[in-house]
């Protein structure tokens, strides 16, 4: 039972992070390798807003999430916008460079010590018994709830709202979308904002659960296989991929070796790349034409 709960919480973490990768990749075919760092930045922003609004934690949370959304949009406007139309690889390397920069900045501003935002907000992380057999931490439960909400929200947004449909159009064929009067820059900026927003939720909830230091980057990177296993441009795939990766990781740690935890996602990733590079639900890349 405890295993199932652990898997569910880890899957929720990975799914929440993976949808950030998927959103950006689906819309602009760019892989955002700075997602883990952006996530970490959001958690640190919460630390600051928590000390600003120490009386009401909810305002602090909202402010931190809103700030992260702005960070995402700004990253697009000032950095990634210049890379549209360049080689995809150059854009990906730019995100890598951004990640390195953010890692340095975070330590410069907030120091490298482990921090605890839950304490700063005045919240205690207590564990809730589930069905008598296992326990789940409050933050873990919140993670599962938030992930469900965000996936439902994203689904409705992409399916029914005006901007959601525009986003899908821009992802399918940017040229035609632009010709139909869709402003690609607005759409891309929106995708970056949404992606950092979901990343921020993940980063904040993880930091509430288990404290905050630079190892969060690794969690962000480990969630990437989840996105790829499911198919880089499919949200349903990200959900399923997260479940697969989380199950593999928890079971391997439990039955084989705890040291494996950092490698298992990448082993699954390689297997997937060999068997079916485009993932479970992803669209196959087009054939090469001369």
């Amino acid at each position: 039972m405890q295993l199932a709960i652990n898997i569910a919480v880890l899957a929720a973490i990975y799914a929440l992070i993976a949808c950030g990768y998927v959103l950006i990749y689906r819309v602009s075919r760019v892989l955002n390798l700075a997602h883990g760092e952006l996530m970490m930045l959001s958690a640190y922003l919460l630390l600051t807003t928590a000390s600003l609004f120490s009386k009401n934690p909810l305002i602090a949370l909202t402010a931190a999430v809103f700030l992260s959304l702005c960070v995402g949009v700004l990253v697009y406007l000032f950095l990634m916008r210049r890379m549209t139309g360049e080689m995809v690889l150059a854009a990906v390397l730019t995100t890598v460079a951004l990640g390195v920069l953010l890692r340095g900045l975070v330590v410069l501003i907030w120091s490298a010590q482990q921090q605890n935002p839950a304490q700063a907000l005045g919240w205690a992380n207590y564990s809730i018994p589930v069905f008598g057999a296992g326990r789940i931490s409050a933050a873990g439960a919140a993670l599962i709830a938030v992930t469900t909400l965000i996936y439902a929200g994203l689904f409705l947004f992409l399916r029914f709202s005006r901007y959601g449909i525009r986003m899908r159009a821009a992802g399918q064929n940017p040229l035609l979308a632009a010709q139909r009067g869709i402003s690609l820059h607005v759409i891309y900026a929106l995708a970056w904002g949404l992606s950092t927003f979901t990343g921020a939720m993940a980063g904040i909830l993880i930091s509430l659960d288990s404290g905050l230091d630079s190892t969060m980057v690794l969690i962000g990177l480990k969630a990437f296989p989840a996105a790829l296993v499911g198919g880089l441009d499919s949200l349903v795939g990200a959900l399923l991929g997260a479940l697969i990766i989380a199950a593999a990781e928890v079971l391997m740690i439990y039955y084989v070796d705890a040291l494996l935890s950092d490698v298992v996602p990448f082993l699954v990733l390689i297997l997937m790349l060999i068997v079916r590079p485009w993932g479970l639900f992803g669209t196959r890349e087009e054939l090469d034409r001369v």
């Binding site: 990906v92 460079a97 920069l101 340095g104 490298a112 990733l269 390689i270 790349l273 590079p277």
Partner: protein
């Protein structure tokens, strides 16, 4: 093809053989000899610290040339370079620790190990391209590092493997001056091998694959074979660099081969300039020396003491900023700047090349 551009102000080649020559003009001969003399004289003038820097640069040069062959010429992106360096270093370390092997066994063994791992790294490239390939090498990096860490903990070397300095007869390689020449020789040999590969059939096949795989295939180039060859050659060079690194430091530990090291190597070839061996060298020098420049600059700040613990963070930030600046404003890298300067003097007093490139 940068190295094939005529270096003088006109185009004086009259046969195909001349186009293949590495050194064409008398000026190039004299500058080469002057450069070699300067390299030879350097260790007798430099301080021990400067020698250490030079040795680090040579090690980085070997690695970055290897990555340049793979990424800059054959067009196969790798984000797992640190994994290969680690593989070389661990091969040397394990052979030394378990069997007491001498360095003339461990270094070829590291090269063989590198070739083997390169083959494994390369296999996904037969199906994957671009982004997906980069991701698969990234994943392999983590797996190699895991295996290294596993060895360390299982054998009880959790802090790292200590390696004795190699000895040739009675000569123990401990003095920095001797190391300088050894590493210089290795870097020079790597450079020569690469230069020769690139002007041969293999190099042209790689260039064709980079430009367009399907067309390369249609032209009768064995795409799969040449891709794997690129991975094998690049990886075995890298593994040799890793083995040399372990001997030079006298110490191997997984902590030294983080993902950041891979990013640094990618940064070397970007900052240097893609598709140019000179770029690989310039990039290696730039990226290796940057942290020391930062350290110096931070030392100049008022109340420098208080920042001493944050040096790593300053390094990361500066490194990120420099990489972004190059990607956004100077995608051609340092070599692009160098060529512009060169062209300025070649064309002086004119500003533009004549139409048609002036090469008839």
């Amino acid at each position: 093809m940068s190295s094939r551009e005529p270096r003088a102000s006109g185009y004086f080649r009259s046969s195909y053989d001349q186009g293949l020559r590495l050194i064409e003009t008398r000026t190039q001969w004299t500058s080469l000899i002057a450069f070699l003399l300067a390299l030879g004289a350097f260790p007798f003038l430099a301080t021990s610290f400067q020698l250490d820097l030079a040795c680090q640069v040579f090690l980085a040069v070997i690695g970055s040339i290897a990555l340049m062959l793979l990424t800059g010429y054959a067009g196969q992106v790798s984000l797992g370079h640190a994994g290969l360096i680690a593989a070389g270093a661990f091969t040397a370390g394990i052979l030394f620790k378990e069997f007491g092997a001498k360095f003339w066994i461990t270094i070829p063994a590291a090269a063989a190990m590198g070739a083997l791992i390169g083959l494994i790294f390369g296999l996904p490239s037969l199906r994957l391209r671009g982004l997906y390939l980069a991701v698969s090498t990234l994943a392999l990096h983590f797996i190699v590092i895991y295996l290294g860490g596993e060895y360390e903990t299982k054998r009880g070397f959790s802090t790292g493997i200590v390696i004795d300095a190699p000895r040739i007869g009675d000569l123990v390689l401990r003095d920095r001056k001797i190391w300088y020449f050894v590493l210089l020789a290795f870097a020079a040999v790597t450079l020569l091998i690469s230069l020769n590969l690139l002007r041969s059939r293999t190099g042209r096949a790689w260039a064709a694959i980079r430009s367009h795989e399907t067309i390369a295939e249609a032209l009768g180039i064995g795409v799969a074979g040449h891709k794997l060859l690129a991975f094998v050659i690049s990886s075995s060079m890298t593994a040799v660099a890793g083995a040399l690194f372990s001997y030079y430091r006298g110490f191997v530990s997984v902590e030294a081969f983080s993902l950041f090291l891979s990013i640094q190597y990618v940064a070397m070839i970007i900052i240097g300039g893609m598709g140019s061996l000179l770029g690989a060298i310039l990039g290696a020098i730039f990226v290796t020396l940057l942290p020391y420049v930062i350290e110096y600059a931070v030392g100049l700040l008022p109340n420098a003491r208080s920042y001493a613990g944050m040096l790593a963070a300053f390094n990361y930030s500066a490194f990120g900023i420099v990489m972004i600046l190059f990607l956004v404003f100077e995608p051609q890298g340092l070599v692009g700047i160098w060529r512009r300067v060169q062209n300025y003097f070649l064309l002086w007093p004119f500003k533009q090349k004549p139409l048609g490139g002036g090469r008839r």
